[in-house]
């Protein structure tokens, strides 16, 4: 049996998203089934026939940052730092004592400091490589997402790393924190991810025909693809004993984690491997699939992903019926490296407030995705045990099992 020193719990989170930033606004957004889709402003979209994304509006990272200067840090680093600041406050983590023990700050990402990389590309096109702007050149080191988040909290006795394992990256960061705390190597961990809508990802996926023109509609028969989203999410992890010693609010326990790789194709996921990843997380948690109250699915809303993921779940569940399987990307968009943390935060709120966040934008059931996706409206429910699934380009899979606070 694991001891309270090796049981790992989540004691707080910080969320910055297009449907609401901070615990109260994010909760309100999830409950209302808000959708953050709006016309893109991050870059000039002239020439695209459609250009919609779940962009962040009305949130200024400078409003929460105390040490980091958002004007020079880069937008993504500022969002990661803001989410870290909010997470520490949410967990009532006393920074003086956190500074005195060894910790971890791990930030997942897909595109890194993407708007600054796009800015370098613009400078290259305009003036060649000899006149790149120094600020952008300094900001694009992706390792800075994690160092900036740690710097915001004044932490120096921390390992900082950025995990660019694309759309599964948050779950990788959380899993690494889990392992470090279990091993007694870190007293606490701030783990999550950050990304912003950018030209490269938009143009690339537009070219692939993988982007939805107006809304992301997971599991809908007429779904048209992904919708990118902005944001950051960070969770505070610590051992149950550590949380109890400092009287921290425990939101949930991280019961199980698994990561694996398809090792098959750069863009097409492999159902069997996705199923093996989810089964691995459940096995580590010691949980039977039928015990789950909900699956917070990857649910990108592409033609290929959603039936693959439902098929993988059927493989995991065997004869047992599937619980509700929902897709928060329908509300916040695909926030890439942040989406795992965003999804975990949604699951934590679902547990605490007794509801299932909806899959919005849903119109017509798909015979290839026969599930209860909690269509369009949040639903009251007892949510005690959930699976949070994620996968990324390159066949990188990572799944977490979370259990309501003990």
């Amino acid at each position: 049996m694991p001891s309270d020193e090796t049981r790992v719990v989540i004691t707080g989170f910080g969320v910055v998203s297009s449907i609401g930033s901070g615990r109260a606004d994010y909760l309100a957004g999830l409950r209302a089934g808000r959708c953050g889709a709006r016309p893109i402003t991050a870059f000039d979209t002239a020439g695209f026939d459609h250009a919609t994304a779940c962009e962040l509006t009305g949130f200024d990272p400078a409003s929460v940052l105390e040490r980091v200067d958002a004007r020079t840090s880069g937008r993504v680093a500022a969002l990661a730092a803001a989410a870290a600041r909010m997470a520490a406050a949410d967990a009532r983590l006393p920074l003086e004592s956190a500074r005195a023990e060894h910790g971890l700050v791990a930030v997942g990402t897909t595109c890194g400091e993407s708007l600054e990389v796009d800015r370098l590309a613009e400078a290259e096109v305009a003036d060649g490589l000899d006149a790149l702007p120094g600020g952008a050149a300094r900001a694009v080191q992706p390792g800075r997402l994690a160092t900036t988040a740690a710097t915001e909290l004044g932490l120096t006795d921390v390992e900082t790393l950025t995990i660019p394992t694309v759309c599964a990256a948050s779950n990788y960061a959380i899993g690494y924190g889990l392992d470090l705390i279990r091993a007694g190597e870190a007293g606490f961990a701030l783990c999550g991810g950050a990304d912003t809508v950018n030209r490269m990802a938009f143009a690339g996926f537009y070219r692939m025909g993988a982007l939805a023109p107006d809304r992301c509609r997971p599991f809908d028969r007429d779904r048209e693809g992904v919708m990118w989203g902005d944001g950051a999410g960070m969770l505070v992890l610590e051992s149950l004993a550590h949380a109890r010693r400092r009287g921290a609010p425990v939101l949930a326990e991280v019961l199980g984690y698994h990561l694996n790789c398809d090792a098959a194709h750069p863009t097409a996921p492999v159902r069997e491997r996705v199923a093996a990843c989810m089964s691995g997380a459940l096995a580590e948690a010691g949980v039977a699939p039928a015990e789950l109250d909900a699956v917070f699915a990857h649910a990108t809303g592409t033609r290929a992903n959603d039936p693959m993921e439902v098929g993988a779940l059927r493989e995991v569940f065997g004869a047992a019926p599937l619980p509700p399987v929902l897709g928060v990307k329908s509300m916040i968009g695909h926030t890439m490296g942040a989406v795992g943390a965003h999804t975990c935060a949604a699951a934590l709120l679902a547990m605490r407030h007794g509801f299932l966040p909806p899959t919005v934008g849903f119109r017509v059931p798909d015979p290839d995705c026969v599930i209860d996706c909690v269509p369009n409206a949040a639903r009251p429910a007892d949510v005690g045990l959930v699976l949070v699934n994620s996968l990324g380009l390159g066949g990188n899979n990572a799944a977490l099992v979370l259990k309501e606070a003990p």
């Binding site: 993407s114 290259e124 390792g143 279990r182 690339g204 694996n260 380009l393």
Partner: protein, 341 residues
Amino acid sequence: MTAEDGNVVVSALAVVSPLGIGTGPFTAAVRAGRSGDGGPVTGLDADPDFAPTRQVRLYERASALAVGTVAKLLAGGRLAAVPAGRRGIVLGSGLASIDTFMGVSTASLTGARPYHVDHKRVPAAVMNYTSAQAAIKFDLRGPNVTVTAGRVSGLTALGYGKRLLDAGRAGAVVSGSFDELTPRRLAIEAAAGRASSAPAEGCCVFLLESARAARDAGRTPLAEVLSCTAGLFPAPDEAADVLAGVAGRALERAGVRADDVRLAVPGGPAGGPLADREAEVLKRLVPGVRTADPGAVVGDTAGAAAGFQAAAALALPAAGLTLLTALDPDGQVGCAVLRVA
């Protein structure tokens, strides 16, 4: 891993550097204490390990470099006895993929339509491309991780790999670091005020497994990985204190005393204030100890640099107990203690 499995060990390494393909030229240069001017790796075109295949397209040079180096590491079916689902990989780099990212962005900005980009290159524009390509090529279906922490990335990957093994999440892990030399990288470094006098590219990868797994496979460990620790300095004048703390904890975790250290391999960027501070800390902590300088041998390999530090320790005969220290101008600090055979 259980206690009977023993420590995590390095049971193989492969190196590709401006000195040549394969570990031999690097090892010879380190042993002879030769200095080099860095530069590109040459001869990739003539070696099929670095060539694209139908499944593994290697759209970026960095990926070709790294996947080819992993091919050298795993040559002769070295992982054949490890089930595919237990084979992990953790690769670190500083800025790999940024060349392709900027290539896609510039195509979007200059094409007749902003979506006239080569969509096949999009997966290579994000940083996990290389580890994913390696997984496909060598059927590595276990943990597949990409990490980045600037110049410290090689030690970050080593620590992550060790912890995957400690936690029982893999039976064997390929861990390493790589970076490529491109006009865009050089321009970014120059604009950031971080131009190097001897920019270089390369890749070092290590096979990590438990001592017992190595023994069962008939592999003689090259080194035990006793500890990996890390920290962060918010401003350069705090670098020395933070490094001293991180190095001290590395020794403590390893269960050894500073007096026992026989080799120190520093990794601060050459010729700058960070390297001076690192030298001061080492002078205080392990006075008079033998040192190695892989940066002088291969040049400034940026995000690959820390991998070359570990490789240098393995290259020296009877290196013994070794302390690796690495710093990045962005504040990351990493240390590792190896007991080199």
